[in-house]
Subunit: 478 residues, 2 copies
């Protein structure tokens, strides 16, 4: 086992067992838990260990101690929290201007002296990319000379082969020649937009959506048409149909699954329905599959391109969320427009760095990626679970929150009138960073919402910071 | 001394001495050279060595053997070759559409089975980047974990510091915070154009100019206003002044020195005059300084930004031509528009790969870069010299060619009516690649011109290929 992921202490495992009983309804809110002594005997552990487990459960708000009576399952289980409402963005295209507030947030989000609830970037420790780094070290030592050339603008052939092979496992038949390596998913999105849109065009997107995507639209002079989106099931197909009937839309840009910030997952049937609508209006789909590999279940959702292989779809993705944010290796896979796509890549950055691509190809070939994915899916699922519990016990009673089945962000919706910008200002003063909801739209909505990132190793500081945000939210609503 | 640059053989040194005598006018075309025997005695070398030196000089077209009479300095010394005429592009802005022919050429230029006179990319062997690669291997081994994060969108702080320190040596005071690391110079140009232009705008450029730059303009929907450019001294200041008086130009994009394909060097006085004109019309200058470090003389030309520190200039450059094409590390330095520049970088590719930047910073800190530059300057100067000699003895008499004092490309101008596209088709059939002149303009000019790259190790194949191109040109003109 990796040095950085030692077995959890015994009391933690015991506490997790209790939590599972509650999650499965075998222990219900208000029920009395075994006494510490009985618990210790039941599990054959020392009294100290049992006390530690109960303390942890108390800290997490799973159990509460009642004086002279023992421990009880807390009444406010996070299972009772309602989901945020489906969004209802205005039915018109907006010009985009989000850069300034985004940079203000990012300056704090990247500063380790702030609690890391801001950036949706896995911490380096969690990703444990040492194996990948060893491949890079070896490549630089062994291959340096041969790779000190402008790479093929398409990118390293072996890496494209590996990506093609992985796609095939999801039923997505894209040959290596159909894959283009990019400088992260952001460049892939730029290329996809450059071959499907012209400045002034309108692009249909989910609402709320990732602020970095809004920045791309802003920089390209594109207008955003935000679509009603359900926090569980994704974009509203009828609303999409209606919107496309009303105005010309140059492209539709959707997260394949576990979008940022909602974490919604679009099931296969809905994906088919979406493609049917887009095909009818001849609108190309740009799909961002960057979170697809971080599915908490066993079934990794299939991208649109796998479900509708003949449709006009440009798939964009990267390794930045799963293994190597620092390598900046993304890709794009399309079944048409190859020449335009290559010309766009050439005009944007000529080609990508050669050795990191070669190292990534070697790493994928070595087979370490799947074991890695299994590990981090569990970690992120656990982080989301923990954070939901802390939110549940700390935030005002009528706070809604998402229950994502993948990714590593949580979206909170507080009562109307709540101002997450004010919460943000106060939190920053206390060295806690998160992203206020207003950054996830080109319009003026989501001021009562906020995004918390669960992408860092869970520790007391993260837990304390979420709890403190809850207290601050209480104060703001008082 | 590096293993890859052993001392040249004695006969080569002797031959170089003879060439110098000719270049300095002490031996003039038509004069008789010493006999081989006298030459051997004069230098105290064996007869074999003297014969080798004379054979080399003969091969290079410096000396010619006349039967029963001995060796003579060839009549057609390259010193007599005329320079190409200053360009006279049409005085109107053109839409740009060069992508298709460019890709056709690049597919051959990157294929090692073709003689490498196409791509202006130094061969990996010449660059000898093993030291840099060792730094990368070490960084991946030692720092991997700490660098597996999204880098600051500005780029690695140490690298920016090193670039800032190097700029200062040229009198260019740009603080590290004013430097932005990019994915090669191409991304830097994209960012510079994105903060100074909108689609449909006109950009003033040199003519002829690098086709990759034309592709960037094409992708951004910009129009090109090509300026008359002298192959020695650069862009015509009066013509620039006149052009700016006639129409709105959003930005002017010039190579600081040794532009591609002319190799022209703009002296300081002309740089001042250009900035004065641009400032009067409030036109920002984007300068591409990518070849500035490959100056054959001791004086590395100063970029515009060093000469006019308060003017509105965005300097773009990279390490791709001097040490690491495969690393794709470029940069941009500006004294204003910092926020917009950062937003543009963020929207294009978020940030650059972290470890290659760190490795480059370590390499620069280690002080190896300057020794490296001294070595490759000499190699490229020698390559240019050799190629000029072969062109001189192989191409039709009225072929003009540039005499660059930096960089590694030669520009040939054949008589009007010569069609370098036809030459290109025939050359490709014989597995020789070069770039026909028509790719260096958005208009229809330069069909009688071509660019030869001298960026590869000089060898018999390169020499033979240039000679063969000359024969083919003779055939085409016959």
């Amino acid at each position: 086992m990796d040095q950085r992921t030692p077995s959890p202490p015994l009391y933690e495992t015991l506490a997790a067992g209790v939590t599972t009983l509650i999650d499965n309804g075998l222990l219900r809110p208000g029920m009395r838990a075994r006494s510490v002594r009985a618990f210790a005997a039941q599990h054959g552990v020392s009294l100290t260990t049992a006390v530690q487990a109960y303390r942890l459960l108390e800290d997490r708000g799973v159990l509460e101690a009642r004086p002279k009576s023992g421990f009880y399952v807390t009444q406010r289980s996070h299972r009772q929290r309602e989901l945020p409402t489906a969004s209802q963005p205005p039915q018109r295209a907006s010009t985009v201007a989000v850069s300034n507030p985004v940079f203000s947030v990012l300056s704090y989000a990247g500063d380790p002296s702030y609690a890391p609830l801001g950036c949706a970037i896995p911490s380096a420790g969690l990703l444990a990319a040492e194996r990948l780094d060893r491949h890079l070290a070896r490549c630089a030592r062994v291959h340096g000379r041969h790779y000190n050339i402008y790479a093929d603008p398409h990118g390293d052939a072996e890496l494209r082969g590996q990506i093609s092979a992985r796609a095939l496992r999801l039923g997505h038949a894209v040959p290596p020649e159909g894959v283009l390596i990019t400088n992260g998913c952001t460049e892939a999105l730029n290329i996809a937009l450059s071959v499907t849109t012209r400045p002034g065009d309108t692009v249909a997107i989910e609402s709320p959506t990732y602020f970095g995507l809004l920045q791309v639209l802003e920089a390209r002079g594109l207008r955003a048409l935000e679509l009603p989106t359900d926090p569980t099931s994704g974009v509203d197909v009828k609303a999409l149909d209606k919107a496309l009937g009303k105005r010309r839309v140059a492209a539709c840009l959707l997260a394949s699954s576990f979008n940022n910030p909602l974490g919604s997952r679009i099931d296969d049937a809905r994906k088919v329905a979406i493609i049917r609508v887009l095909t009818r209006y001849r609108v190309p789909l740009i799909e961002d599959d960057i979170y697809g590999d971080i599915s908490f279940g066993d079934d990794r959702p299939r991208p649109f391109a796998a479900i509708s292989p003949t449709a006009d779809i440009i798939l964009c993705s990267s390794f930045s969320k799963t293994i190597a944010p620092g390598y900046r290796i993304g890709w794009l896979a399309a079944n048409r427009r190859h020449d335009e796509i290559l010309a766009a890549k050439f005009a944007l950055s000529l080609s990508g760095a050669a050795l990191p691509q070669k190292a990534m190809a070697d790493f994928l070939k070595s087979g370490g990626y799947d074991a890695h994915l299994r590990r981090i899916r569990k970690v992120f699922a656990d982080n989301i679970d923990r954070m939901r519990r802390v939110v549940d016990r700390s935030f005002p009673r009528d706070t809604r929150m998402t229950d994502p089945k993948g990714g590593f962000v949580l979206w909170l919706e507080l009562p109307d009138g709540f101002d997450s910008d004010t919460l943000y200002q106060r939190a920053i003063r206390e060295r806690i960073c998160f992203v206020p909801g207003g950054l996830f739209t080109a319009g003026r909505g989501y001021r009562n919402c906020l995004r918390l990132s669960c992408s860092h190793d869970w520790d007391a500081r993260v837990e304390r910071s979420v709890a403190r945000l809850g207290e601050l939210a209480h104060e703001l609503l008082a």
